[in-house]
Structure formats: structure tokens, C-alpha cells
Amino acid sequence: MAEKTYAGKSVNVTEDGYLTNPDDWTKEVAVEIAKEEGIELNEKHLTVIEFIRDKILKGETLTIRSIGKSGIIDTKGFYDLFPGAPLKKASKIAGVAKPASCV
């Protein structure tokens, strides 16, 4: 575990940089995490981020496939917004745990 400062706020993060407490999340924090990932956050990103937060905090699990079918965004669009590893990046910016790709 490590401590980091985002938007003037000190928060705890995991080894891979995921917030350990999702309540530490604010839009301002999200903007700064996104910057570290090389992403300039816009409204589109935020819609997806809020969708992910909502689902995860309700205890649901998400996959790239289920997000692609959710009607919020299609898979291609999801990749365009969060290039490379969209679910991992989006989860990090959303302040929720790293997606557990099951073994």
C-alpha cells in the first residue's frame, strides 16, 4: 500500500495504484488519475466511469464484454476512450478495485 496526493487530497492506493477506499473518489481525483494514464477526461469518459462505479459498488462484476453490451458504450468505443486495457484503466480512474480476471 502507498499514499498519494490527488487534487490536494491524500489517499491510499494499492501497489498498482488503485484507490483502496472508493469513498476517496471525487471527479477531481479522477481527472488526475486519468492524467497519469495519459487520458484527458471528458464527459464521455465520465459517463462510463460513473456507470462502472455504480455497478461495482452494487457488488456486480464487469467484463469488457458486459460493458460492450450494456448500451452505455460499445466495445470499440470503450477501447477508444481508454486505449490498451480499457477495463483496468477505467476501473483505476473510477476509484474501484482492479478487475479480478478470474483464474
Binding site: 467484463t63 470499440k76 490498451g84 486495457a85 480476471s101 483464474v103
Partner: protein, 409 residues
């Protein structure tokens, strides 16, 4: 007469039929098991067929030989389950009522989920080895293949037996070396994961082994479609991998009847309590094996360990007692690494695969996360154990709970 219905007579369903018939009074309880296929396939054996190590008939036996007398075996397709009314309907129109239902219909490949996959190259230069048919077709192809780009791809997670694609890569390396054409074959391993495996220590060990064998890993590759005209894989972020031979693990999904009965998630897995293995929604339904959504490997070893828990909890439910047995997600997988060696991983919900010895601390004989000959024999022996002990629900000298003894932190 009270009724138990078991859906699926694969690994899990067969074990449960054997365990339950032994203890439940025949005058009081009827047990019925349904499967669409009269043959039982030893699926771990599919891995060896492409390389001619096993042949077509080495992995198939009639299901009926493993179902005990006193259990009714119906060969038919399950069409639908009405979980509110406790009724199963079969494709032939027959209906089965139940007091308790055990779901063990597994997970299956769905090549049609990926555009371009089952087009003109299917079983010509594109194969799977997750079905009997695919493994046999690939064996025939490899007999005369002279080399080029061989791409192994995992289309979606989760898929059953998470280590099988790696084993396939290792065995392919050995096969081409022995054939004298390894220098003419480039092996690529493309996966939606960020590395060879999901958990850190195993990923490191397996990643190094891939490197040693000159197998190129292409991580974070999430397949959108196959361009069969130009023989290329294309990912959602527009990356392309050209292939001469594609061996794919197609999207895996739970049984179709689950979707028709609205009982699963978008991949047809049924929401299951990860500890009690009872359905989260219906008190008289238990879910065993690959059909459930519990967060551990979809593997035969898991099914075997989990069957002890389903058995205990179902007996409790029958007798109206609380469900006290708790599954820990225990998984134990032999990994063929080629040239007569193997590795072994042992883990559960909480503990990632660690190095050490198994099952006896300090003694073994098997080495965890080590590459040894004896581990390979463990895998070879497993086929015998599977047919003769495991399916029949006999006790194996292995604990269903994982233990930390013998593991190094």
C-alpha cells in the same frame, strides 16, 4: 417419493450421482440424471490429441458405465428450467419435477460469438482443441503442416482450464522440435490477460518458461474478429496478428438452457454462493462446477473438491439443517511444460499459487511451481484416477480444503 434431478452427466454430475446414490434410501429418494450426449469425454485428454500423444478413442467412454444402478439416466437435451415451479423440460417434451436440483451442465465453446471464426478457414487453418472434433481435426492438420506463423489465441475470459492454452504452447514447441521444423515455426501466444497467467508468482514462472522456449507472448489482446480472407486476427484496438495456423480457445459460455430460462449472467453462468455452492436465488438448487459463477478456475480438480461441499450441504438441506460446509475455491492443476516435464499449481480464493511441495509438506512428491519429471507423471496418472476413482465419487487421498503446509511464502 422425493426427487433429485441432476442436469449434466459430465465430471460433476456423475460424481454427485455416485455420492448420493450411496447414502440416500432408494425407497425414499429417486435420482435422475440428464445429458444430451451418451459419451463421456475425458476433456483434459483433448490437449494431447493434436500431437498424437493420445488418439481419438483414448478419451471417450459410454456415460452409462459411470452412472450407478438405481439412478435413472435420460439421454436428451435440457430445454428449460422453471425454477419457481421446480420443473425441468426436455427437448422431447418430457418434464421432470424435482425437490432438489443440481446443475452441472458445464461451459462450452461458442466459436460463432467471434465474427469470421467459423467461416471458410474453420477446420482448414483455424482449429480449437477444446472439443473432441477440433482436437482430432488439428491432429490431422499437424501431420503434414510444414511451418509458418502459429498463433494461439484466447478469445474471452473466463474459459475452462486456464492453463491448457499454455500447455498447448509448450507441447507444440516440443512437437515441432522433434519433427525437426521448429526453426520454421513462429509461435505466438495472444491473450486478453496482461501476462501468461492471472496471479503474479505463476505468471512470472510461466512467462519465463515461454521465453525460454522462444514463444512470443502478445498480452492485452482482446479479439474483435478474424479476417479469414487475409488470415489475420484483429483486436478491438485495431492491432493485427497474421497467422498461417490459428489455434483458438473460442468464447466459453454456460449451457443454452440457462439463457432460455433466464437463470444466468451474460455468459450463462449461474449466480452461486461461493461458499455454500447453493444458487443465490433458489434454495433448492445447487450449482457444481463450470456452470457456476464462483471466482475460481473452471477445472475438473475444482469440481472434484467442490463436490464434497455440495454433497454435505445438500444432505444438510434435505434434513433441514443449516449449510455449514464452506468451499474455499481450492484448485490444483498440473501443467504440462513439454519434454516429459510438468509443473503444478495449488491455490484457492485467497491464496495465489505459491512454490513448495504437494501434497506432503517438504516431501511432495510433486513440486509446486517447479518444472519436474514427477509432475508430468502426475498428469499422466490423472487419466486413470479420473476414470477409476474420481467419477465414481471415491475418496482420493487429497483434502478438499487447500492447506498452507508445504507452501513457501
Amino acid at each position: 417419493m422425493k426427487k433429485i434431478v441432476i442436469l449434466g452427466a459430465g465430471t460433476g454430475g456423475t460424481i454427485m450421482a455416485n455420492k448420493l446414490r450411496k447414502v440416500l434410501d432408494k425407497e425414499e429418494w429417486s435420482i435422475t440424471i440428464v445429458d444430451r450426449d451418451p459419451n463421456h469425454y475425458y476433456q483434459p485428454g483433448f490437449l494431447f490429441i493434436p500431437f498424437g500423444i493420445y488418439n481419438k478413442y483414448d478419451v471417450v467412454k459410454p456415460k452409462a458405465s459411470f452412472i450407478p444402478s438405481g439412478v435413472k439416466f435420460i439421454v436428451n437435451s435440457i430445454n428449460h428450467v422453471d425454477a419457481e415451479k421446480n420443473v425441468v423440460s426436455l427437448a422431447n417434451g418430457q418434464t421432470l419435477e424435482y425437490d432438489f436440483l443440481i446443475v452441472a451442465t458445464g461451459t462450452h465453446i461458442k466459436p460463432d460469438e467471434t465474427p469470421g471464426l467459423t467461416g471458410k478457414e474453420w477446420y482448414k487453418s483455424i482449429f480449437d482443441f477444446y472439443s473432441h472434433q477440433g482436437a482430432v481435426a488439428l491432429q490431422n492438420f499437424l501431420k503434414t503442416w510444414e511451418g509458418g506463423n502459429m498463433v494461439i489465441n484466447i478469445a474471452e475470459i473466463p474459459y475452462k482450464c486456464p492453463v491448457a492454452p499454455l500447455e498447448f504452447a509448450f507441447l507444440a514447441d516440443e512437437f515441432f522440435v522433434k519433427k525437426g521444423i521448429r526453426d520454421k515455426v513462429n509461435i505466438y501466444f495472444s491473450t486478453p490477460l496482461s501476462g501468461a497467467f492471472t496471479k503474479p508468482k505463476a505468471t512470472k514462472m510461466l512467462g519465463e518458461l515461454l521465453k525460454e522456449k522462444n514463444i512470443n507472448i502478445i498480452p492485452d489482446f482482446y479479439l474483435e474478429r478474424v479476417d479469414d480472407e487475409n488470415k489475420k486476427l484483429i483486436s478491438y484496438d485495431g492491432r493485427e496478428i497474421p497467422f498461417d495456423l490459428l489455434t483458438i480457445i473460442p468464447v466459453n459460455m454456460g449451457a443454452d438452457w440457462v439463457a432460455r430460462s433466464s437463470m444466468g449472467d451474460d455468459l450463462n453462468y449461474i449466480a452461486t454462493d461461493r461458499y455454500t455452492l447453493r444458487s443465490e436465488k433458489w434454495e433448492n438448487i445447487f450449482v457444481l462446477g463450470d456452470a457456476s459463477n464462483i471466482p475460481t478456475s473452471k477445472a475438473g480438480s475444482v469440481v472434484h473438491f467442490a463436490s464434497d461441499i455440495v454433497f454435505e450441504n445438500l444432505m444438510s438441506a434435505i434434513e433441514g439443517r443449516p449449510l455449514l460446509a464452506k468451499f474455499d475455491g481450492h484448485s490444483n492443476c498440473y501443467i504440462e511444460t513439454g519434454f516429459g516435464k510438468g509443473s503444478l499449481i495449488d491455490f484457492n480464493y485467497e491464496t495465489e499459487p505459491l512454490p513448495g511441495t504437494y501434497p506432503l509438506p517438504g516431501v511432495g512428491p510433486f513440486g509446486l511451481l517447479k518444472n519436474t519429471r514427477i509432475n508430468h507423471y502426475g498428469k499422466v496418472m490423472f487419466r486413470w484416477i479420473y476414470w477409476h476413482l474420481l467419477l465414481k465419487g471415491k475418496e482420493l487421498p487429497l483434502e478438499s480444503q487447500m492447506t498452507m503446509a508445504g507452501k513457501e511464502l
